[in-house]
Symmetry: C3
Subunit: 443 residues, 3 copies
């Protein structure tokens, strides 16, 4: 994290040491690339295959919820099996071929095997006329239908005539799969990192997020933290709904959280605040991103699973962390969201912001000044800087005076850093020093 001005506490300093690695960007990229080819959907083997790969790095526990299970206002849908899909021309050539790109099949498509005239076939074909080279990503959950996605150019190249259409899929009783990993901390106060697992070959959205938090979980193994960290890998919407339905008693423990998606592209950062708007995670992310290319935006109830976590019955303080904001970049939900679109550098930078956020959360605690009447005599305790123009001593003294002055139980260390305009690391080092000197106790 050298050359990086991100605030970090003392815990953060050791966390950074433990969690960082020169190759972190490459590591995440390689893992994203490994899971990229899999055809995922909200149910089915794709998610299971993905989790199997991720489990090589971190002990993610796989959970299954049977089709038909009631989950909150929803029902777990059937499991989608996809074996093949193609459109063949009169010569028997595959003009659209699922084996070449899994975006070609409408995700969760019902089976079909028929011969159709081109005009008829076109009703079930999705293209992007304004991006004629790209295959769109389309889904059809909860309303059974079949379809194909292809580039406008390829569609235009099709001659009139009859085509053989085949989606060799199945919608059967099975289960919905999600993964979960818990990093136990000193307390039950939880931080949630949530990623969606349901998109097929889209590299940024969300192979990047799955690979990133997996490497984060991997590197956190054995690292002592105050908070407990929960890593959730779930299909969008129905996955989060299922998890919430099964874990309602546990939700009050979640004090902070981030949905992580689209964290590999080279664009600037996006942070979408929680519904509350000024939660600790909001303030931390705003502070971390203040000096970067970043867009911090207000909450709105659309996007990823922050929608579910911020529902009125839960109001969990979960924000959304991205690089380019979903639905705003041209590659979004197209075949251009591929492995060329994400970079190790961007992934590494995103990773380090998350590490800094963890460091900030770990230091989000309060102290009580045990000598609150006037200033304690720091000099007698060897805490006060020497005579003269020692700039560092001055900064250290100021940090001590600020921490002592504001440690009345109302101010957390990040609050003090914010009001004092001091690096959080300095504030946390100072608090530790003052605690050791018997001048502070945890609130």
């Amino acid at each position: 994290m050298s050359g990086d001005a991100a605030p970090q506490g003392l815990a953060g300093a050791s966390l950074t040491a433990a969690l960082d690695s020169p190759s972190i960007g490459q590591d995440i990229y390689a893992l994203a690339a490994e899971i990229y080819p899999i055809c995922r959907s909200i149910t089915g083997q794709g998610v299971r295959d993905t989790l199997t790969i991720l489990q090589k790095h971190a002990p993610i526990v796989q959970h299954e919820a049977l089709s038909g299970t009631k989950v909150l206002d929803w029902t777990v849908p059937k499991e989608w099996v996809i074996r093949d899909a193609y459109i063949k021309n009169a010569a028997g050539e595959r003009v659209v071929d699922f084996r070449k790109h899994n975006l070609h099949v409408l995700n969760y498509s019902a089976p079909i095997h028929a011969k159709l005239a081109l005009a008829e076939l076109k009703k079930n074909i999705f293209t992007l006329p304004e991006q004629p080279d790209l295959i769109p990503y389309r889904t059809s959950y909860y309303a059974e239908s079949w379809g194909f996605c292809m580039s406008q150019n390829a569609l235009d190249a099709l001659a009139d005539g009859e085509y053989e259409v085949c989606v060799d899929s199945e919608l059967k009783d099975g289960s919905l799969t999600y993964g979960e990993l818990i990093h136990r901390g000193d307390t039950d106060e939880e931080v949630l990192f949530s990623v969606h697992t349901c998109h097929p070959s889209l590299a940024n959205d969300n192979c990047s997020g799955m690979a990133l938090i997996t490497h984060l979980a991997k590197r956190m193994a054995g690292v002592k933290t105050r908070h407990t960290y929960r890593f959730l890998y779930a299909p969008g919407t129905i996955g989060a709904i299922t998890w919430l339905a099964r874990n309602e008693a546990l939700t009050p423990r979640i004090k902070h959280g981030l949905v992580v998606s689209c964290v590999g592209d080279p664009g600037g950062f996006t942070y979408k605040r929680t519904r509350r708007g000024d939660a600790a995670i909001d303030r931390i992310m705003a502070r971390l991103l203040a000096q970067r290319r970043a867009n911090v935006i207000a909450f709105f109830p659309y996007g990823y699973d922050e929608r579910q976590y911020n529902a009125p019955a839960y109001k969990l303080d979960v924000g959304l962390f991205q690089r380019s904001q979903f639905a705003t970049f041209p590659e979004y939900h197209t075949s251009a969201d591929n492995l060329d679109f994400i970079t190790p550098e961007a992934l590494a930078e995103s990773y380090r912001v998350l590490v800094a956020a963890i460091a900030a959360l770990e230091t989000d605690r309060r102290y009580i000044n045990l000598a609150p009447k006037g200033e304690p005599q720091l000099g007698r305790r060897g805490l006060y800087g020497a005579i003269g123009g020692d700039k560092e001593a001055y900064a250290k003294n100021m940090a001590m005076l600020w921490v002592l002055n504001l440690s009345d139980g109302d101010y957390s260390l990040p609050d003090i850093a914010e009001r004092a305009k001091l690096p959080l690391e300095t504030v946390e080092q100072t608090a530790t020093l003052l605690e050791q000197a018997g001048l502070l106790k945890p609130a």
Copy 2:
């Protein structure tokens, strides 16, 4: 209201249908013109004659308070009878004639009949030296005196010499008159529309206000509303004081209100906030006027009867709605405030803002999300828009997500519209849809 982007709820949509009319501006103008010639004052036959005309349109109840009645810190004054007033020159010609313009007599003038030299007479003559063509409007309540108002030019044209001066008036025990109309709604929560009735031939100030709210009351007849609407026609200050003195037990019911005056001139809108400054009516008016030529100003304890309603013992949330702000336009309190100064177009626009305000007040209610855990499955209920780029469907979906997310009892529909940056009409339509679908109940 076509071509008008003013937010309006569903109730507003039907209210608008019921309350609007292509001829509304002409209707109000005609009524204002009918009452314009009457010589009104704080007491006397003028107010009664005015109410008699207004009663042809709406069942206004006339109330009388006898002279000498104690009302709060005040006493109802004597009734003013004005029969004639003139200044005759040596030739016996009326050089100032009440019959030509009732502004010529100092309003509430004591009687006089005398011969006076011009120099002496001038002490009791009011002019506007900087607007030499115009007759000023002046009053002398609560301090008995006599006087005339005339144009500076006319005064300058008077030859020296003796003049016969006559104010054929009387100050006698009688009563103060005010009018009241109540539109009963489903609840006792009241909205007050208050107009002053004491100004003689001034078209904008306040024939416009009296005519406007009378047509509003007329068109509301039979229209079902949630709030009860109270229309008060009272002489400035003493009329409001009298009403408050007689209706103290009732004042807590008044939840919102507007003093309506000077609503017919072609200038932009003025809204003066309540003493509280952020009452529901303040937020509604600010939102309604945000996209118009409008000046939204802070409360100050001067102006019309909002002064009385916002007194510290009541603190009623009553703002002031005008077009050009009182005392700022050159026609103010002069003979130029005549029927040429007000227009049917301006009156219609003011009327429609009030209708939109009513619509907003009617929709100022809260709902509770009955499926608050995550998002309910809208698709299953046929509520979720189809696949693809249907912009309207997207907007509808967003509205549903916002209404569901914020319907926790803390947010009213206008609050949701404000936070979501959605038209209030959309929000209310959405709430109704979701209520019908069993997903919301009134808070």
Copy 3:
């Protein structure tokens, strides 16, 4: 105070009359000049000699705290006796001479008498290389050492060789001295003016502050006030700590306060807010300084004894009032902070701001409107301005309407002045008038 737009209340008007004097700047300057030559430190005869001079003007009570006394987290240190200090060259000439400038000795220096080579001697010599003509002010409290301060030029002029070094000082059991003067008001609610007394020959820092508040106390003698005013003359840090330790039960009485230092230089004003940031004194000072060259800054826990008063156990609303901010002007803590640096004009202006602050504090009271239902009839009581364009009458009427409207116990007179954008004097005169008319009573 003619030509001065500073808000002042009615009490302020009489206070100003009582407290002001055409010669006030000269008077303060003369007193500052009289105490300037004394060699003060945190303990010792210097403070006592200074108080003796100040006592010629105001009945300051002198308090002593014995060396070794425990005060909060501190211990009263030994008393410093300084008789002489010099460096003699080989020729026996004094090349550094305490008798010429008391800054030459490291303040609180331990005794020494030795012969040292120049190279060795330099280790205990402090200079200002970037201000080579000036002698720095340095101290060595709480860590026994000896030393000299001199100009860089003088040091550079010293030939190599051996020097006789002498600090004829003593650190002995004695006492710490502070002074206190109480101006009793009608109530026990106190306003604290605190100055530091421990700096030797530094004119602005803080002969200016000591002289200023002494003349303020002198002129307040016999003047009736609502608040009680406490003037505290104490050595920096340890003096305030000692006072707090001895007066803990009394601290809750202190409702407002100012530390006064560096008030004689020609720079613009500085006001450092209290820890709370929006205390009454903060709002008063911000308002008073709004139309002057002034820098109103946020609290930070460094500077003068506002640090102690704002400690978390006390949180007293004590701000810091200065002209140029400490540590920002080149003369700060050097021999250039001399009698040429301060001016009678600057001292007079600072004095008058303090008087205006007192006036504002004296008027910082609330009234209750006794006729809160609508407006009382002002005209009947002869309070309402006459007909017509009397601008002053209009302003007076507005002031009455504002005071009546806001006198509900929530608004103080300065609050009303702020919201109504009226001069505080007008508001206070109005409140007095309305109280005399039986329309207001003190809250």
